[in-house]
Amino acid sequence: MPEWPRRISEEMRQHLDDEYDALRADGLAHDEAMRRLAGDVDELASMRSHPVDAMTTDVRYALRMLRKNPGFTAIVMVTLALGIGATAAIFTLVDAVMLRPYPYPDMDRIVMVAETTRMGQMISVAWANFQDWREQNRVFEHLGIYRGTVLNLTGGEQPERLIASLVSSDVFKAMGLQARLGRAFTADEDRPGAPRVAVVSERFWRSHLGGEASAVGRTIVLDDEPHTVVGVMPAEMRFPSRTTDVWLPVGLFVPTFPAERGAHPGLFGVGKLKPGISVTRASADMDAIARRLEQQYPISNTDHTVALQPYYEQIVQNIRPALLALSGAVAFVLLIGCANLANLMLARAETRQRELAIREALGASRRRIAQQMLTESVLMALCGGTLGALLAWWGVKAFVATRPTTVPRIDQVAVDLRVLTFALVVSVLVGIAFGLAPALRAASVDLLTSLKDAARGTAGAGRRTRSALVIAEVALALVLLVGAGLTIRSFTSLTAIDLGFDPSHVVTMRVSLPNARYPQLARWSAFHRELLRRSAAIPAIEAVGLNSSTPLEGGGCPS
């Protein structure tokens, strides 16, 4: 190591001491004197080469530069906050809906099974067909069947409508989740005439059974029939729906299903494939069974086959296009932001070229200068990213508050450590992305050309880079604009559809009567006539009506 760094630093220290003494002699207080010397001190410190020192100094120097240009800093921060915030918000959704593992073990082996016509129209499964599928298939480890329904819970202060699911005992095995308390039902309990048992959700257990271990074995009255609670499923069990309160053995209800094979009583299958069996292979196996049944029962089964769909696909299929489109859009916004900032940084780097040339002349290596430029941009990106994370947190909260029903696992959508880590990584990458061009230019700048350029005006290479950035920006913005325009058009045309009725001031309610108490149509009709009469008598009600489903709802399936 040559003698000079130590010698020069001694001289510089001496100089600072002299300057300090002179300032104090002029009557300045210690703090003020130090403040006046701060610029020199930082500049000197940045010439040292120890990596950690250099990093600290770079950060301090960068902070000073940011403070010195509040307008520039504000523009950069807002751009970054919007870009990173939007990206983080969409990532929060994508992560919760698609990326985070689902709680069911071997989720990739869980498939939904439906009957379908060979034209591709999906229909529910005939009970008799399901029996044959279960017996003849060689591809499923477990094959179960389920149907949604609603039940009335009585025995409390007032009757309550519960979201229930009739499931075969294989459904729990296919989903692979153990009961949190007690057990799921057995195959013996899942047959006509068996003693009535129920498995309840954790939510129901807490709200209605006091969340106590003694809840197992207690009796609840559902549709006028007493049921023994045998188990509590954990909160992770969200099949068939996250709102399911209670699961009952489907076997108990088989006598109520139409006996003929051509009847499709709203049942759907769910199964777990044997290890190593692909969906394609399973489909082929099930299709072979369907063809055999077709020959055996031509009246009911002609042109009927079996459709398999991975459970994960079923969950995300509706939301995926929207999420992908949104991800693309925010990526574009972020890219435009980056291009914009790279442009700003390049423009600023040009005005700073003399400063950089002088630093280089004073012995700072080009790598060192580039490193300092990158430190500046990454620091800005981190500050912007922090603001962005705040924006994302607020935006996601606002979105979840609207309770969108089409987003799976919406209750798990929140800005958490995973999202913050993502925002951090994006910030650093963005910082490098928009700081790289100026840093590379700074590293390649040399004193002589820099001085010549100063006389000539803007450097040619810099101008070309900036033009390219502007072109890229306009192209990206155009794509985004067209996409947004099309989305808005679809939305306005959707809202412009005439419903044919005025939905304002209209409220709906659902009623379900237990079969046990209303077995005959006459009693059932009498109940509804009485319901209409008494409702119409309420002064606040102008008109009242009854239907099997509400307008635009389609079908008559209870939900």
Binding site: W4, R7, I8, E11, M12, Q14, H15, L16, D17, D18, E19, G39, D40, E43, L44, M47, R354, I358, A361, L362, G363, L451, A454, A455, R456, G457, T458
Partner: protein
């Protein structure tokens, strides 16, 4: 063509003249760095000012080229300081730079009429 703004012109002039200034100031007597910076600031009425981070590397470069030579001198009751004096080689450079600068200034004067303005 864009014109250099006055800030840039200013900086470039200062940079070009820095060597000349230092060589001139150590011509008559040895001086230390702080003394040099204060002299430049005072004699230029504050127009010219050196940052610490540029002055000492410049002194170092001039010494490397053999135009000036530095020596540590310790005076009673004071910290040791490095005093620089002009070498014969430096004297030659100084004379040449003075000529160049004079010719340059005259040329500018003749064109821009700075003296008669």
């Amino acid at each position: 063509m864009r014109y250099m703004n006055s800030g840039i012109l200013d900086r470039e002039l200062k940079k070009g003249s820095a060597e000349l200034l230092i060589l001139s100031l150590v011509e008559d007597q040895p001086r230390h760095g702080y003394d040099l910076s204060k002299l430049i600031e005072a004699r230029s009425n504050g127009v010219l000012k050196f940052r610490v981070a540029s002055l000492y590397p410049l002194l170092y470069r001039l010494e490397q080229r053999g135009w000036i030579v530095g020596r540590w001198i310790e005076k009673a009751g004071q910290r040791r300081r490095r005093y620089y004096r002009l070498t014969p080689a430096g004297a030659g450079v100084l004379a040449a730079q003075r000529d160049t600068w004079r010719a340059f200034a005259e040329a500018i004067n003749r064109i821009a009429g700075v003296d008669h303005a």
